[in-house]
Symmetry: C2
DNA sequence: AAGCGAGCCGTTACCGCTAACATCGATCAT
DNA sequence: ATGATCGATGTTAGCGGTAACGGCTCGCTT
């Protein structure tokens, strides 16, 4: 009488929920999704049934029926491994929730042609949107190629989002300023700064944030010891080497990312300097490298996984609105960063007595 | 007349292929999957049509219809980030091909109760199988919990696979022996070894491989300088500190993983030793840390992504055979490793003239 | 009081694919 | 020879959802 159901998986379906709530499957579907045009009492009844049965919709069935995006591309290029794994975890979680698959491609080359080539690989597989984490989010050739193929993109932690483009980011400038203020409040007045790769706009934002804080404390940004780095460990090695070889070496080093900060620690140790007693070193990103090295790094934490989730959600939302022909709304999302104080930073050697005193105007502390 | 098809996605379906090949959809399905009972000529015809139309099956529809596993758990615990990202990339690729979703959970704690708790989280979500990369693949409580819930598991790089268990691995012992032979052939006779975490069987395998090679060269493994490490950077720091403080310090250090090898490089630099001129240092795993540090590490490369893919395939195959009630066949797969020679290793200082001479019997080289 | 649009909910028809069963000709044991 | 068997294929019926549309019930206009 009921249904002998050819092959009955033990799973509970929307039908079960509908029965339990005394409504039709369609109503359950409505409640679970948009939820328009459903009476409040009905909604709660359905929700209760969902709760009681511990129902979770079958994503395969859902995307099949709705014809939703099923494949989202993710093109990466050698960010730090720690960044990538965090990012993947976040993206994966969001993808699972949405019931879509991630198609991963890597593109290590800086050559525009190869980047375009890697991009085109997405076109042949049936990817419907692409996520671009740094550093590729700043790649002009890739964006151009994607644009000409007509695949929507969401960039992450990118410098200058183009008009109408989807973007997820943190406020690099403010974060760098906060870190600098922290160092200043510890008593440091001669802070060395290692810049990031000049091709990434985030590098400039961080540098500007550094300058901002210096100015707030009445210091001259132009006089601060600054060296160029390229986000790599090796570039951090030589940059800190140069910083510490200066006639008046800084009492703290602020590296634009953790890799370079870790390199700075290595150089300090090689020179017999104790961290943080003789030299404070701070980074940016809070990758796992930050807690791998000793002493552990004071750094700025980006909510990497959350950014990946936000990126995917943004992209999926855009795809949906395109499908239904409605105008795409807000498309830039900025998430919160956080200052993580660990062991690699402390008051400067000579100033250890008066630590913690903000001392707001010690001009020319150098 | 034909079919105005309510909502026609532009995608090509199995039906299109069937039409093009002049067969039914079912036959196409058979060709694409198992492919049993299909005439050779038919098969090629279908394959050609697939090729011509550039058809790729809709995974959502597939897993919906076949009632296949859709959610596979992946429980990880703080391996190096580089390992994790590689592993995720491999697992993701395999998951996409299979049309299933990865459910990621982390479990940083070593506490058995918390591990069991993390495991149980899979039970509530509808995960049908779990992948356990190291170091959790050696966790007894997790395996026990999974066993009692009745979820199939595949362990990766685990020490002692239990009978009937699914396992993917490399030959740690042979790999360690190869690395040691390489060092010996370079002329090193006093090689320091940093062991891995004693809870991981792989640690013992690597140690044994080290011993194997020593014996092959007529050296006494018992006399070799060996220190205990725990796979962490910090443990590598103190282990190499101890190694180099010995009255007769080794001319080469073989660390059981890259993190500890990187730590050894740091210690060497701190002591003013040049790598590899004064001291050769080699690692194991070829994580991205290996190429991050300077000089870049000579190490053993595990095909991490491939191992993840193999693990997922193995698990899916097992799940499928369980469903059809057939006996599960072979269940351990060993993949190939490779010795990667980079800049951190070279002939010993005093022996630089006679480098490259295998010198097979220099007993008591210490 | 009849008209009427809006809100709420159910029905129908699929999405793309595959398990199970049906079909049909060819090979096979007796 | 001849039904039994087997291999190669087609047919049917869903898997679990959702889009589209249709119907019913109100409340409010005129």
């Amino acid at each position: 009488m009921s249904k002998p159901s050819r092959r009955s998986r033990g799973t509970i379906t929307i039908e079960d929920v509908a029965r339990a709530a005394g409504v039709s499957a369609m109503t359950v579907s409505r409640v679970i999704n948009g939820g328009k045009n459903v009476r409040e009492t009905t909604r709660t009844a359905v929700l209760e049934a969902v709760e009681k049965l511990n129902y979770s919709p079958n994503t395969a069935a859902r995307s099949l029926a709705a014809g939703e995006a099923t494949h989202i591309g993710l093109l990466y290029a050698n960010p730090s491994a720690a960044y990538l794994s965090q990012f993947l975890i976040g993206a994966l979680e969001a993808a699972r929730r949405a019931g879509c698959h991630l198609v991963i491609e890597s593109c290590e080359s800086e050559d525009p042609d190869e980047q375009a080539e890697a991009t085109r690989r997405f076109a042949t597989s049936d990817v419907e949107g692409v996520i671009l984490p740094p550093p590729l989010s700043d790649s002009v050739p890739i964006m151009a190629e994607l644009g000409s193929i007509g695949i929507p993109v969401v960039t992450v932690a990118m410098g200058l989002p183009q008009e109408g483009g989807l973007n997820v980011r943190i406020d690099d400038r403010e974060a760098a300023a906060e870190m600098t203020r922290y160092l200043l409040s510890l008593g440091h007045r001669n802070i060395g700064f290692i810049k990031g790769h000049p091709n990434h706009i985030a590098s400039h934002d961080r540098t500007r944030g550094f300058h901002d804080a210096l100015e707030e404390f009445g210091l001259d940004p132009g006089a601060a010891p600054v060296e160029q780095g390229y986000f790599t460990y090796r570039s951090g090695l030589s940059a800190s080497e140069r910083l510490l070889s200066r006639p008046n070496p800084p009492s703290a080093i602020f590296a634009s990312n953790d890799d370079m900060a870790a390199a700075a620690i290595s150089v300090a140790h090689r020179r017999g300097l104790h961290v943080p007693a003789d030299l404070s070193i701070v980074g940016f990103d809070d990758t796992s490298l930050a807690t791998t090295v000793w002493p552990e790094l004071t750094t700025v934490k980006q909510p990497i996984a959350a950014m990946a989730e936000a990126a995917l959600d943004l992209l999926l939302g855009d795809l949906r609105s395109r499908r239904s022909g409605s105008p795409h709304g807000g498309n830039v999302r900025a998430l919160e960063h956080a200052l993580i104080v660990r062991e690699s930073s402390g008051p400067p050697a000579k100033a250890s007595k008066r630590a913690r005193v903000p001392a707001r105007a010690t001009k020319a502390g150098a």
